[in-house]
């Protein structure tokens, strides 16, 4: 279809609009109070009442989540190289990482706050701690699952293990690494918001907590929508980066 691309954008927006109208009608007909479930009109009104307050707190959350994500990405990529290089290193370190991943990271926030205070550090750290695992696992797996024939071909002209890793395994893992950033991104936001709820006086997590305690539910919903919208947009940007950097991996369905 010639106008297929246009509909790709319009159709979901239309669906959203219809859902919003249905939501508004249900609330109005059933008389559910705003502090239990606010209608879209009340949420929009909240955006109008607190534009700067929301912007400021979104910036706080966004900054800590993105810094946490960046550290997680750098850490995972760096760590996956020695892990892929040596089975001995992998066997001694990987179980510990998996074990650490089994700790609910939200439970660490009070400790992080105890050590680093109520500033940005615990939020960034929580984002990092939640985000690194979903990035590390696919990246490492891609590095260590090279086809045997490819490995032998490289060895046949005398490539060392390190060279095979740098010249082939790492570039080969890049599409997996970049797509895992999507998972990391949502995880990092979860981390930041949790830390803001537990130990902070700013950020959208803090706003959600304080607004619900005042029964200002429309404001909490405004925060949720902002979070969803932000993550969605960053995810789109990541996809564009992926297509540019590792377009070769998407050659089948470009």
């Amino acid at each position: 279809m010639a106008s297929g691309k246009k509909f790709k954008v319009i159709n979901p927006l239309l669906t959203l609009l219809l859902l919003g109208i249905a939501w508004e009608l249900v609330i109005r007909v059933s008389n559910i109070p705003n502090y239990v479930l606010p209608p879209p009109s009340a949420i929009l009104a909240a955006f109008g009442s607190y534009p700067w307050y929301l912007t400021y707190n979104l910036a706080e959350t966004l900054t800590s989540a993105l810094i946490g994500l960046a550290i997680a990405a750098a850490f995972s990529l760096t760590l996956s190289i020695p892990l892929a290089y040596s089975e001995a290193v992998r066997e001694s370190v990987y179980p510990l990482i998996t074990g650490f991943n089994a700790i609910p990271r939200a439970a660490l926030v009070p400790l992080l706050a105890l050590w680093f205070g109520l500033g940005a550090a615990p939020r960034v750290l929580t984002a990092f701690l939640i985000a690194f695992f979903p990035i590390l696992v696919p990246t490492l797996t891609a590095m260590i699952t090279m086809e045997k024939e490819l490995w032998e071909m490289l060895q046949s002209f005398g490539a060392s293990k390190g060279q095979i890793l740098i010249k082939v395994a790492v570039p080969r893992a890049m599409p997996y690494f970049l797509s895992s950033l999507h998972m990391g991104l949502t995880s990092a936001f979860v981390g930041s918001v949790i830390a803001e709820m537990v130990a902070s006086d700013r950020g959208l997590g803090y706003v959600i907590l304080s607004s619900t305690s005042r029964l200002d539910t429309p404001l909490a919903f405004a925060c949720l929508i902002l979070l969803a919208l932000t993550t969605f947009l960053i995810s789109k940007v990541l996809s564009l980066v992926e297509r540019r950097v590792v377009g070769w991996a998407y050659r089948v369905n470009i």
């Binding site: 024939e149 490819l150 071909m153 046949s156 002209f157 080969r172 890049m174 070769w248 991996a249």
Partner: protein
């Protein structure tokens, strides 16, 4: 004259103990410089294992590999290998794929550029230097892989069923091309194949391996002058060779 490749009582075992499998047993084989030798046999007879022994990729439990008079048992830069699948790296262009061995061998990539272009022209891919592998057909990809196998001027070319994934027409084209390349590069060649016609057409000598464990059953010398035209396939002598080798494999 000293053989380019000498296998002496080579025995290869995969796995240990009772679960282990003797893949090849007591194989002796000499390949003279510039000779083209094919190894044929049923699938699973250990012919690929023999090729990997020559490449230094598989260590024999017994026996010796001697290359140009020197003992060898680890991967060495004297060989170029071509596999059934081209194994090109999709993020590298044709020219960069071909130069990969030079990069890895810490060679001066620049000084090999002219050789890379020369090989590309030789295999008929001029103009595709900066294409990506996925933009090429299967036969073209295999030509690129052939250039990569040859870029570092190996004295020995090892081919592991290199054309079996190609269609019949492309395969015949590759037979012609390979003969030109072997003639031009003057390399000793060992070809593993299950296609007897391919073996007879391309080689000076066909070695028949019997399976489990792989042993040399017999050798057939093919007395046609190289390079050979594809028409030779329709002569009586050619088909006699094919029939004889097939019966040796089948026994």
């Amino acid at each position: 004259m000293e053989p380019a490749i000498r296998l002496c009582g080579i025995t290869v075992r995969y796995g240990n103990g009772d679960g282990g499998l003797v893949a090849v047993a007591d194989v002796d084989l000499d390949v003279m410089p510039g000779e083209v030798v094919s190894i044929v046999g049923k699938s699973g007879c250990g012919k690929t294992t023999l090729l990997k022994v020559i490449a230094g990729l598989v260590k024999p439990v017994r026996g010796e590999l001697v290359l140009n008079g020197h003992k060898a048992n680890t991967p060495h830069r004297g060989v170029g290998m071509l596999f059934q699948s081209p194994l090109l790296l999709p993020w590298r262009t044709v020219i960069k794929n071909i130069l990969l061995p030079i990069e890895v061998l810490n060679g001066d990539v620049r000084s090999y550029l002219s050789r890379a272009y020369e090989l590309i022209e030789k295999v008929g891919l001029k103009g595709f230097e900066n294409s990506y592998p996925w933009e090429l057909s299967g036969g073209m990809q295999q030509r690129v892989a052939l250039c990569r196998a040859l870029i570092h001027k190996p004295s020995t070319l090892l081919l592991d069923e290199p054309f079996s994934a190609l269609d019949a027409i492309t395969r015949e084209e590759m037979w012609g091309l390979l003969q030109e390349i072997i003639e031009y590069e003057r390399c000793t060649t060992v070809l593993v194949t299950h296609d007897v016609r391919e073996a007879v057409l391309l080689s000076d000598r066909v070695v028949v391996i019997s399976g489990r464990p792989g042993r040399v059953r017999s050798e057939v010398r093919v007395d046609f002058r190289r390079p050979r035209g594809l028409d030779i396939q329709y002569t009586k002598e050619f088909n006699d060779y094919v029939a004889m080798i097939k019966s040796l494999i089948g026994d």
